[in-house]
Amino acid sequence: MAETIKGRTAVVGIGQTAFGKGLPDTELSLACQAISAALDDAGIAPSEVDGLASFNMEADREVDVARSVGLGDITFFAQVGYGGGAGCGVVGTAAMAVATGQCEVAVAWRARKRADKASRPWAQVSQRITGHWQWTRPFGILRPVDEVAMLTRRHMHEYGTTRDHLANVALAFRKHANRNPLATMGHKTLTRDEYMNARWISEPLCLYDNCLETDGALAVVITSAERARDCRQPPAYVHAFAQGLPRQHQTMTNYFTDDPLRGPAWAAARRLWANADVGPQDVKVAQLYDAFSPLIILSLEGYGFCGRGEGGPFTDGGNIEWPDGRLPVNTSGGGMSEAYVHGFNLVLEGVRQIRGTSPCQVDGADVSLVTSGEGVPTSAIVFTKDA
């Protein structure tokens, strides 16, 4: 196999703004504040930054960010598509750029004022539908939650997945958030009764199967393994990185293939584990993209933590809960209970687990998995404590 980027780069800085609704600052200002905080965390001057990676849905352009924060001459910049599928993709792209000498210090970020209704993509659809949306939207399958609910119902039918399994996910993440003072739901508990009695959003999914709507920004700083050893914080090495766009896939409305429940996670996992020295059995803690609770079940299957169709039962018995579960998942509360910033908060929590600074710190977390949006072309990263 060709030489990979294994252990050649590390996340050395993380930064974020407060999470909220209706934050007064602009998205650009939030982005700059998060990047600035990440650079301070790393102990790296803005003028040393020469690489940038961002979501192609990011409204803030590299030029505006770079001249605000005072970055140096940028020699690498790239964007990754597919919304929530891009999070690990931008970090991995930055890592590849550092590993191949295209830049020395790269920043990846996501800023969003999602709580602003006008920012929700599904609320902005034009009223004549073209492209692949014309096969679903004219029939009232309008929102991401509707699109995922359709696959969820099928998963329930094929494998016996239940609302109790989905509740396991929602409750686990809320428990984790309750230990995280920065989480939007840090002080709000959630019971199984509350889950079961919540209003429907798109049956079979209820309110608590959905992520939050959040304003906020987060950023990471990536540099070479050599440089990382001299930075302020313990490095979180980028051990393996992969993207996944499976054959015949249709983003979000993947109803048209031979096997719609074999989602992007399966494609990403194949490359991820092939390029890694570790496998799912070695992962101590995982941050799995959770715009909706069923995506956790699909991701547990796709990344190989359980067999096909066993994602629901995998969540039973506190198995994804800190501290005693086999695989604590979304240990800062995730998109459903910490903040929904297109999954970028999951990247930072994956790094905190390696550093030993999570609000739900897993003992001996030397292998930490982060994944991005399931149901869209996706990406995933394995961070390790050792290079």
């Binding site: 609320a123 659809v125 009223q127 004549r128 539908i129 073209t130 492209g131 692949h132 014309q134 096969w135 679903t136 939207r137 004219p138 029939f139 009232g140 399958i141 309008l142 929102r143 509707d146 609910a149 359709m150 696959l151 119902r153 099928r154 039918h157 209003r199 429907w200 959003i201 798109s202 049956e203 079979p204 015949q248 249709q250 409305t253 109803y255 048209f256 293939t257 031979d258």
Partner: protein, 147 residues
Amino acid sequence: MTVSGLLLPDVDDPTAAGFWAGCARGELLVQACGACGAWRMPPRPMCPHCRSVEVRWDRTSGRGRIWSFIVPHPPLLPAYAELAPYNAIVVELEEDPAIRYAGNLVTGPEGAIDEIDPATIRIGEPVRVVFATVGDVVLPRWVRADG
């Protein structure tokens, strides 16, 4: 022109116009490769089997089974919030279950998408296509095959 805020397809979309023209004639079509004959849904400009760009439109049986369904509730765009809760379904075609269409289960061509009790809908139910005129567009909808 839209009908009270409903999201209707652009029936002139060059890749898909053949499908919508079929609906207007009361036929549920599927795009087929003009060279090897393989069916594909949704339509696309090249055959993933033989890479031909030749396209033809085959008529289907218009019969299938419910593959999955949802029942959306607000918050929704206003025109849909008025109808909610309503059903949306995905149907797998009788002659090729890998060919699927999204739609709605109704009692007849003029039926509303909120008229069937969602608690009665089952995956696997046999259905057949009907066609509903909505504004200047004809949409496929589905009725129970044994109803």
